[in-house]
Symmetry: C2
Subunit: 307 residues, 2 copies
């Protein structure tokens, strides 16, 4: 089944202990769609400027990603520059030039009307809600958000959360959203806000999925996927979006949505996140094969399974 992602496409300048790159293709929608493209057909709604050319288009086309929803606006594409220090936990933002992204109003091409799976990457919550309301064929909506919206636009975010099925955020965001420092209690509070399912990303420690009782046959107990201990993390940018792409892409590729599918989706999310950080930008995500992905899935299984 097709999955539509709505979010940012960007050019990034990234410095990490492994080196420095300039002007590389980035943005949540880019990482998401490349990761998801190994599992299912992907559609993109985003905005770019005049500096987005055939070279960048080719990256999407090569992965059979439908970019009819990629709006060309006068001006420059969103640009971000960040530096990761030795521990790689968090980027220091050097600059953020929103450019054409500042006035982004997602427009959904008519041809996307039959989309059944939707991922709302990290944009203003009201825009996320608008998109969801326009997509009447959607069966499952995934959603990301960040501290900026949790603190700045809590009411708008609360409205959006009522419309989403799966929320994918990290530990800090979960606790901030719930006003609760204990993770499982915070997770229960977030589930009460709307989503049936919450995926909490723990960075280098993997991710945990919490479901409302009865949702997707998951029962009350959480499930946890590991992350792979990686010897050289070149660039953590986009790891969360790649995780979401693997998770949602795998879900969209399956006929049914049940406990087994969600568990494997969590593993595939973790697998795609682990590939993303091995090289700068989207380099590693551009050149994967499904065989490599499934081989790493097996490594993740061996990493955690007793037999």
């Amino acid at each position: 089944m097709s999955i539509l992602v709505v979010g940012s496409v960007a050019f990034d300048d990234v410095t990490s202990p492994s080196g420095s790159v300039k002007n590389i293709l980035g943005g949540a929608a880019t990482y998401f769609s490349l990761a998801a493209s190994y599992f299912t057909q992907v559609r993109v709604v985003a905005v770019v400027g005049k500096d987005f050319g055939p070279e960048q288009e080719e990256v999407f086309r090569k992965h059979n990603i439908d970019i009819r929803g990629l709006e060309r606006a006068p001006g420059k594409t969103f640009r971000w520059g960040g530096t990761y220090a030795e521990n790689l936990n968090e980027a220091k933002t050097n600059y953020t030039d929103l450019n054409v992204f500042e006035t982004f109003q997602p427009r959904i091409p008519k041809e996307y009307g039959d989309t059944e799976f939707l991922f709302l990457a990290n944009i203003q919550p009201t825009l996320q809600a608008d998109v969801r309301r326009k997509m009447s064929a959607v069966r499952l909506t995934g959603c990301d958000t960040m501290n900026y919206w949790i603190k700045g636009t809590p009411r708008e975010l609360a409205e959006t959360l009522k419309l989403v099925d799966v929320l994918l955020i990290n530990d800090t965001e979960t606790k901030m959203l719930a006003h609760e420092t204990n993770l499982p209690r915070a997770a229960q509070k977030v589930l009460a806000m709307g989503p049936q399912t919450l995926v909490v990303k723990h960075g280098e420690y993997g991710a945990t999925i919490f479901c409302r009782e009865g949702a997707f046959g998951m029962g009350q107990r959480p499930f946890r996927a590991p992350a792979l201990p990686i010897e050289e993390v070149q660039d953590p940018t986009g790891a969360g979006d790649s995780f979401a792409g693997g998770f949602m892409g795998y879900v969209a590729s399956q006929k049914e949505l049940n406990r087994g599918v969600l568990k494997r989706a969590l593993f595939y999310g973790s697998v795609m996140g682990s590939f993303a950080v091995e090289r700068f930008g989207t380099e590693r995500l551009q050149s994967l094969t499904r065989e490599e992905i499934d081989a790493r899935f097996q490594v993740f299984r061996e990493l955690t399974h007793l037999e």
Copy 2:
């Protein structure tokens, strides 16, 4: 097989968001031996003062723990007071009264001479090494340490590490010991210092075991056990020592030491850590049954296993 633990026995005052307790039995050797006692016969070498009475002795005796190595010294038992804030990650130490522990010189009773498994809890590295050298029948030595010794007595610690088989420390300690911020690279450096096996404890995220290639048939790949997301953590004190007790106790209970045993040991360590934090002090560890332990082992399996 019997396992001997050398470490501290203490009285603790603990405050956490769940409440406050005074004068409760604590100390690394106490948590370790209670946790290990569900798997194998435990022997203790430690020192206590005149304030350690029949009530405390009874806690050990009930679990068939051999305390012939528990030295009674003039003065008071080691006392520690700590407060955990809302996030429970780290205790603020209110006071540390070493008392009789300050001049602790481990004395090994003759009857302990046939001990095959040894755990050196967190004490001065030279004392750890001395104990190890005295125990000629020991087949496997586990060891803990802390920032204080890593920074303060690196040469002494390096000598100790050459004598141990399994080092059990946390992420921060691993990175500090290796002077390396990347965990898998840090793990390789620590393994090069002596231990065949390194168990890195991640607190609420579980633990990962790294082995030297070929050691115990583990191969080069790490293995990871989860921690259970717990809704009410009353008291994190002793979680790491309880983890070590579960891990080493299970290992000592097995005829062979191979890949499967180490993996299950990591799960049992995590299980015992999860029980320890549910109540203040050793309360939960005192009242467990092997059936409860194995039931939680199954919960941990379901939490991480795809099938």
